[in-house]
Amino acid sequence: MSHLRIPVEHTTLSNGLRVVVSPDRSAPIATVGVYYQIGFRLEPRGRSGFAHLFEHMMFQGSEHAGKMEHIRLINSSGGLLNGTTNFDVTNYFESVPSNALERVLWLEADRMRALKVDDDNLRNQRDVVKEEVRVNVLNKPYGGFPWLDLPPVAFRNWPNAHNFYGDFADLDAATLDDVRRFFRTYYAPNNAVLLILGDFEPADAFTLARRYFEDIPAGPPPPRADVSESPQTEERRGVVDEKFGTLPAMAIGYQAPVRNTPDWYAATMLDRILHGGRAGRIYHRLVHEKQIAVDADGGINFNGGDAFDYNGPTQIVTRLFHKPEYTADQTIAAYDEVIHEIQQKGTTADELEAVKIKFRADFYSNLEAGMGSYMPRFGLMHYLACFTLFDGDPNRINTVLDGFLAVTPAQVQSAAQKLLVPRNRAILIRRPVSKPAPAEAAATAQEVAQ
């Protein structure tokens, strides 16, 4: 078995900014990220969608780089950039030829130091965000399913249960003062980590980080929203209309364990046994054998990312698209058979071993490029950021696999018995408004079968 060792060095600047450096001399490029510990669930009440709207504002101008200058300077250096808002972090990142490293750090420092935006910028980005919500959620089949419509069914505490993309009325109510206050509260260096990966000497990277970031003043420690959920005592259900798609769909989510606990390691392996691709038990049983579902997938923190990048309540989610000739109850009954089996009979050493091999391979793939990103080492950057902000230790990147590889079949079974129970779950049904003629089509297919 090959063991991969990622070189990691880190320090904390005098203003509290954590800096993590990982050299990689294989190509003349650098990937830089700044992660702020603020996300959907920490945004102010009554300002749904604000964390994301604010992320857009970070591209609208800072002290010495006016509107679009940030994007123009990265692109014209031969680089790519983006930002994303997540449940517990908001990130800004760039991949560039390594000769642009200093420029990228200057730009990120400039917008950490001072945002410079006006009402026109805010109005403009509010319009852009509304089109983003329309194209990703309101105007396409299964938009927002299940990441936007399962949490309100699953959770009771506003930070975990509100509309993360934002109600349009809330977006309209956002003011420039809100933007400035949010920046002062959450975008201080002591609430962030800077990641520098790629082709350079680590000492040089630290020198550049100090040069551009160290004199940005620290802020008061940001308030921590209470994101805890009261214990769930009964199954929760909800139904949402599907305005476009023709297939009925559902998401079934069980409250997931807190990261880094023994249950978390076991639940992650359990999750892969259930959802790990076509060999996973749910796909195999519901799609292949019983042919009730047309597609099935899922995962821990499926709504927001993966098993590593959450820092509050989340779920182990199964997503199913099933044939119209089966009812939701029939589909759930078939699903429950799979759950009961693993609770009663557990897994085998053989199945668990295969799942571990796949888990290790997926982990490496994520580090190398990762998460559908077009940026080299995106996943490595992302995990280093999460391990630093949530656990205070970026070196977990080199040890975290061990905990998963040590999970036993007995631990998997016990996690299934403990977690996969109705009073720990929520079911969200997405019900098509349009009615196709499934029976007819099925008959056609049968007639011409050889």
Binding site: G78, W106, R113, A361, P376, A445
Partner: protein, 457 residues
Amino acid sequence: MTSAAANPRLSSVPPLGPESPVAWPQRTLRTLDNGLQVVLAESREFPKVNAQLFIRSGNASVARHTPGLADLAASVIRTGTTSRSSLQIEEHLRRMGADLSISAGADTSAISVSGLSEFSDGLLELVADLASNASFPGEDFERERRHKLESLRVERTNPSFLASECFRRVLFGDHPYAIVAPTEEQLASYTRGQLVEFYTHHYSPSNALLLLVGDFSAAATLEQIERHFGPWKEHESHPAVSLAPPRHSGRSVHLVHLPGTVQTQIIAGNIAINRRHADWQRLSLANSIYGGAFHSRLVMNIREQKGYTYSPRSGVTALRQHGFFTVSAAVRNDVVAASLAEIFYEMDRMRALSVSPEELESAKSYMSGVFSLGVATQDGLLGQLSTVYLDRLSDDYLETYRQKIRALTADDVLDAARKYIDSANSQIVVVGDRDQIGHQAALFAPVEAYDPNGHEL
């Protein structure tokens, strides 16, 4: 505390350092006795391997009578070989830490696999098995066909799919590239026998290209490839016939009516060139200035100034026989006409005025830099190799690409825009609610309206 204003270190943009040379990976090329072309490149940073077996036949080769047949065949290949059942294949993959996908585009079908490099021998063996011994089990065929039917129904409710489908039909007319997907009736009528026929005819080593990138030594891997792919028997396959696409004169507008939609998907564009054309880099550069990058003119205009849309983009799609230029944007319903006006204004500006030296340099640096990012991941490298070897470009394509971009001038950009960003003859597709957008679309040409299944309204 230092004051930023008083500190030039903080107030001025640091200059770029000297550009580092990119070490393009060594390729090992081999053609097996049965005609299979093999390209290997080592990439040793992560213990993974990525492989892709391309068949140089896709949906276009059968589009006239059985559109989508290559795609359905690709789905069913995964479900069984003469020695493995569907479940055995899936379990075998998991045990090698592997992901598999088999799919077909217009010009190619592809078996793609990535897994741990310690299992590269087993991965190659499995790919060879799928490419030469697929058994098309009857029950799996029925299941996969039903799944395709259900996905097709969902796709035809998706504005972005409907826009692409309609655009291809309009742009390519009688050419096989016009058909992106079958009708429900066609799909339901396909038989297992047709799939076997397609597979037997096209999945042949002399019609294939195997690309491999990963943590291995080329010499040892070549030996594995010989062992697993050597026995694959060659049979005659005929390349698709190249046909001319239609010539469009003037603009036309095609509306796919989806009642009640809260946004309109726009696509406009024209036939352009493929990657083998001498103007390819010129057009790529012009496209990146027009709408192909975040800092491009189109994004600045209709997103950052006007807020009409979230994701405007232009691109050049290179199919094997022909390429086409497109611009797309999902816009607010009340600004469909305004968006189209800006889209064409920016096209006309590209065709009328020279780009400034700053804008030219900026775009050249962008294209050159982004190209070099592609070498840094196994998947990115595999993508670049597939471009070179599928399109039969010159062997030094990767090494010389950046020089070619660097050598381009403002006149090159103007010339490419005038030839290939064909504002006056753009074919326009809008997908949305006819009652809200029909009158806006009609400002650009008489509107032909369709339902989601392509029937005229």
